[in-house]
């Protein structure tokens, strides 16, 4: 049963390595915007420190949203998705493998890059650990939730806008508690509460998203 999972995980990582340019897109976007903020808003560390938690989290969200659109798109166009759906392997496991591959090439590097951006936005020291932990767990939740939207809109010609409309409301709680945890730590409180909520959201989406996605993919194929 795990054969399908490892096969698709390896395949998607291999595909990602073959398209390194596309792979770097969300990261470059993340980096560019955060470089622009000090130039456009103000270079003063006090002011930047105030908005840093929010800005970093919003950019992580947008970078995920931008890249999740293509999760099933190319597989749908070249018939791979059809092969996955009719294969005897459980579709939810295949979906989970695809989402994991997506997170490994977007969410994880984004998280690893975030301390550097924290320095650029003069994030106070207390915020670093909560930021890394909330992004690590939170981006996984964002990938999982985004996959549902990607599965629902895969058969539409211009699904990008619809995808954002479907997914953004579901992203709100993750954003609120993710950025909230960093903000609380910066303000001198314990970030544990919001961090636990982010963890719970991620657990919930891990539980539901693969099934929702496989259902949505089957519906999309009927269209």
């Amino acid at each position: 049963m795990s054969g399908g999972f490892t096969t698709i995980l390896r395949r998607d990582l291999l595909l990602a390595m073959r398209r390194r340019g596309e792979l770097a897109n969300p990261l470059v976007f993340f980096l560019i915007v955060l470089t622009l903020v000090p130039l456009a808003v103000s270079p003063s560390p006090e002011q930047l420190a105030k908005i840093a938690p929010g800005i970093i989290w919003i950019m992580a969200l947008l970078a995920t949203l931008l890249s999740i659109d293509g999760l099933f798109q190319s597989d749908y166009r070249d018939g791979s998705l059809e092969q996955m759906i009719i294969s005897p392997q459980p579709l939810w496991l295949i979906v989970l493998a695809k989402v994991l591959a997506h997170w490994l090439v977007t969410g994880l590097p984004l998280t690893l890059l975030s301390p550097l951006l924290g320095i650029m936005l003069s994030l106070p020291e207390a915020g670093y650990w909560p930021m890394v932990i909330s992004l690590l767990v939170g981006t996984a939740a964002l990938s999982l939730i985004g996959a549902i939207g990607a599965a629902l809109t895969v058969a539409l010609r211009r699904g990008g806008l619809l995808l954002s409309l479907v997914v953004t409301p579901l992203y709100m709680p993750v954003l609120v508690f993710g950025a909230g945890s960093v903000q609380r730590a910066v303000d001198g409180f314990s970030p544990d509460g919001p961090l636990l909520v982010v963890g719970a959201l991620m657990a919930l989406s891990l539980l539901l998203a693969p099934f929702a996605c496989s259902g949505a993919l089957k519906i999309s194929m009927h269209g």
């Binding site: 698709i8 070249d78 092969q83 005897p88 392997q89």
Partner: protein
């Protein structure tokens, strides 16, 4: 073995956008059969194949696999099925070898005695194992997908226009491959506009809103 055919289509009809594509399609495919689905462009050949593999649901009618409706034996059916569609699921950035590798691993059927290198040799792609598929010609890409036939050990092959972009010698080879498969107790359902030079091919003709089968 009982005399139950492998796959039976009973009274299948399909409607899209309030237009009846086909209705009351009846056919049965037993071990050793090749069924050619024919019909004009737009008569629903591909749709019928998608109904058979289960990605499209018919308005009415049933597909029976060894006498059981396919939705009741989905796993068993899926493990005995090989489908190569118009878009055969070949990733253009992967090499032929990598493509065949992932497609083969999705299957639960027992491994064939052929290796991937053997299969690529059979379809005339020796020396192209490590070339990304986007730099192969249309016919060669088609051959990569068709190499799956040599790797498969499943009973039922469903091929949508397998001869597209294949040269004459390739067609002959493919016909031999299908004959070999049915002589070993397999079955093939295919759509093609080309007359097949195989004896005993059953045909199913899809026409405007109706269908008729003939031997």
């Amino acid at each position: 073995m009982t005399s139950t055919p492998l796959l039976q289509l009973s009274d299948i009809s399909f409607e899209r956008d309030d237009r009846l594509l086909f209705s009351a399609v009846n056919a049965s495919v037993a071990a050793g059969d090749i069924l050619q689905v024919s019909g004009d462009n737009g008569s629903g050949k591909t749709t019928l194949l998608k109904v058979i593999i289960g990605t499209l649901a018919p308005q009415s009618g049933d597909c029976l696999w060894r006498g059981t409706p396919v939705h009741q034996c989905a796993l068993e059916y899926a493990s005995e099925l090989l489908y190569i569609g118009h878009q055969p699921g070949i990733k253009s950035t992967l090499t032929p070898e990598e493509n065949l590798c992932w497609l083969q691993r999705l299957s639960l059927a027992e491994k064939s005695s052929h290796t991937i290198a053997d299969a690529l040799g059979k379809v005339g792609l020796v020396g192209y194992e490590d070339v990304p598929c986007h730099s192969l010609s249309a016919g060669q890409q088609r051959r990569v997908a068709l190499a799956r036939l040599y790797l498969s050990t499943v009973k039922l092959w469903i091929l949508d226009e397998p001869f597209t972009a294949i040269d004459r010698q390739g067609v002959t080879q493919l016909e031999q491959c299908m004959q070999q498969h049915v002589s070993e107790g397999g079955a093939v359902i295919l759509t093609t506009h080309q007359p097949l030079s195989i004896d005993g091919v059953k045909t199913l003709h899809l026409g405007a809103g109706h269908s008729k089968g003939e031997q």
